[in-house]
């Protein structure tokens, strides 16, 4: 092991009673990168993040975050990380300014007032600073939360589904901010369900049923999925979709606009299936599988759908 790692955890296990939320997760994340944390709901993303920043005790496993032991030095970790919770967790009955001031005071930031003014200015919320945080829309709440958790210039930023339920423009603005922070040297681990967001990350880690199924760059994951994908265009693709969903050799079928994506793990079986259900007026073309194709294949192959067990 050469370069020091921002997150270096081994075999993290978390059990709640007899339910296993996280089952042996390893993460070795270098400084300065942006990593995406993906996986279906209930796959253990939030639990893993909470263990990394010392909000949950681990059942098994150990490791360091920013060089500090996650079990024993959680206070040091808390000082140096910014953690943005999945649910808006700032105080809705405090004003925007009061929230920022509270955080600034808790981290004992020097020149607190100037710092808060600057943050409000960057956020573009200067004119609304005296409104209560509950009055903000979802997108603004997320931006406020991001501003609040980065005010103390953390080395590591942990974002738990920061853009869930946020409109596309606000999401784009949010990601611009994440990349801006990353350019200034912040390490970012962000969990998400959005494929376009995943594609903006340096690396992706995919969790399912509390286990790390795969990790790597977007290209790595697509290559490693071993998926073969064809697109079909033309009239009759709807009938085709119904037929293909029942065929063996077809992993999944999905619409992308007017085109149909048909993917399978085995080229021969897939092509055989396509030939038997060929229709007139439908043209076929092989394409590189998208990240979404790969993930859906991953979800299907990593056993049962964990979304049923929440």
């Amino acid at each position: 092991m050469s370069a020091p790692l921002a997150i270096d955890v081994h075999n993290l296990v978390k059990r709640f009673g007899d339910k296993v939320a996280v089952n042996g997760v390893d993460i070795q994340m270098p400084y300065g990168q942006v990593w995406g944390f993906l996986g279906p709901n209930g796959s253990g993303k939030t639990t893993t993040i909470r263990m990394i920043c010392g909000l949950l005790n681990t059942t098994e496993g150990e490791g360091t975050c920013l060089g500090y032991d996650i079990a024993k030095e959680s206070r040091e970790i808390k000082i140096r990380t910014g953690y943005m919770t999945q649910r808006f967790s700032f105080w809705g009955d405090l004003t925007i300014r009061e929230n920022l001031e509270f955080v600034a005071r808790l981290y004992q930031l020097p020149k607190m007032k100037a710092k808060v003014d600057e943050t409000l200015e960057n956020l573009g919320l200067g004119h609304r600073q005296h409104q209560v945080a509950d009055a903000l829309s979802g997108g603004w709440k997320q931006r406020l939360a991001l501003a609040a958790v980065t005010m103390h210039k953390p080395e590591l930023l942990l974002l738990d589904e920061p853009t869930a339920g946020v409109d596309p423009q606000a999401r784009r603005d949010f990601w611009d901010e994440i990349h801006h922070l990353s350019t200034n040297g912040m390490t970012v681990l962000v969990s998400t369900h959005y494929m376009d967001e995943a594609e903006r990350c340096d690396k992706i880690a995919y969790l399912s049923n509390g286990e790390m199924v795969t990790k790597g760059t977007v290209a790595d994951i697509i290559d490693r999925s071993g998926l073969v994908t064809f697109t079909a265009e033309g009239d009759g693709i709807r009938e085709l979709a119904v037929l293909l969903k029942k065929s063996s050799g077809v992993e999944h079928v999905a619409y992308f606009g007017s085109a149909l994506h048909v993917s399978g793990m085995n080229r021969e079986h897939l092509e055989a299936a396509l030939q038997t259900s060929a229709l007139d007026g439908v043209s076929w073309k092989e394409v590189r599988p998208s990240l979404e194709d790969s993930f859906i294949a991953l979800m299907n192959s990593s056993g049962e759908d964990t979304r049923m067990h929440q």
Binding site: R50, C53, G54, L55, L56, N57, S74, R75, K78, I79, T81, Y83, T85, R87, F88, S89, F90, W91, G92, V103, L106, Y107
Partner: protein, 378 residues
Amino acid sequence: MILLASLRRVWAVWLKELIQMRRDRLTFGMMIGIPVIQLILFGYAINSDPKHLPTAIFVEEQTPIVRSILQGLENSGYYEIILQTSDPEEGQRLLASGKVAFVVTIPPGFTERLVRGDRPQILIEADASDPSASSNAISRARAIIAGALKRELTGTLSYLAPTREAYDLVVQAKYNPEGITYYNIVPGLLGIILTMTLVMITSIAMTRESEKGTMENLLAMPARPLEVMIGKISPYVMVGAVQTCVVLIAAKVLFRVPFEGEMWLLLVGVAVFVIANLALGFTFSTVAKTQMQAMQLTFFFFLPSMLLSGFMFPFRGMPEWAQNIGSVLPLTHFLRVVRGVMLKGSEFADVRDPIIAMGIFAIAVSILAMLRYRKTLD
């Protein structure tokens, strides 16, 4: 059909509530616990005819007649002679500090003057700051002494016994001579109000955070448990200060309750009491999972505080086990301080013990709160 569908929904809700109720152990426990405790308290603990009131005697002669009078007082069950003193000052001190409820003084030469038919005096000084505690004992005193003398004054002395009392019983009701009940109630109310509001406010301090989801954020930030606790309870010290002012002004202006003692001493007592209550509320908020549970815990604490502290009923009228429970409650000690300082003009030495007791309570529950406080979401 509409009715049936409606009944089905009612059934569904009923089942769901039943399941939830069973899972919520604390609420379930309190639903059972509160009626039981109320029954026990109202049924057994409350005694408006207190007996075995601690009594000091100051007697300067030992004659069969004097012994018989003292015996009679004790046999009545109202007076329990715990101390015989030869120093009149000591009797006064004991009365002021509340260690005794009565001082009975039989002057020297009592027997001789009685036999001579001079109608000598017997003095009973009573702590009347809580009139209901002492009034029955006082009103029985005359009959008790008459009965005792009747047994003694027989034979050659029988001529002294019948028609008219051969002695003069003087009762001095101290600290609240008119026996005005609200003199006792109003200072006590200060304690009740502080207990009720402060415990309740702080008991939801942490539960509100976990219910609104802000707890996770708070824990993710580098704040230590004690910091959070002090930060959360100290604003309410001011609330306590305002309430104290309101009650003291009302006591003076509306009820004209005398204020015999020193204001600073009262404020020291109030400060310790307020901190004890806030710490307790915070402890509740680390135990309760929801704000609702926190409220229930508050009420659960408030009930015995009101009933067993000596606020509603005389402390000494309760059986020993109830007094033991009462002794744990900060309100019991606070009542001694506030009544002592306001009505009796108690000095620091008189109220030192109750103040220390409240302080110990505050420290103990704070330690408990720190042990209960979770630094993680586990």
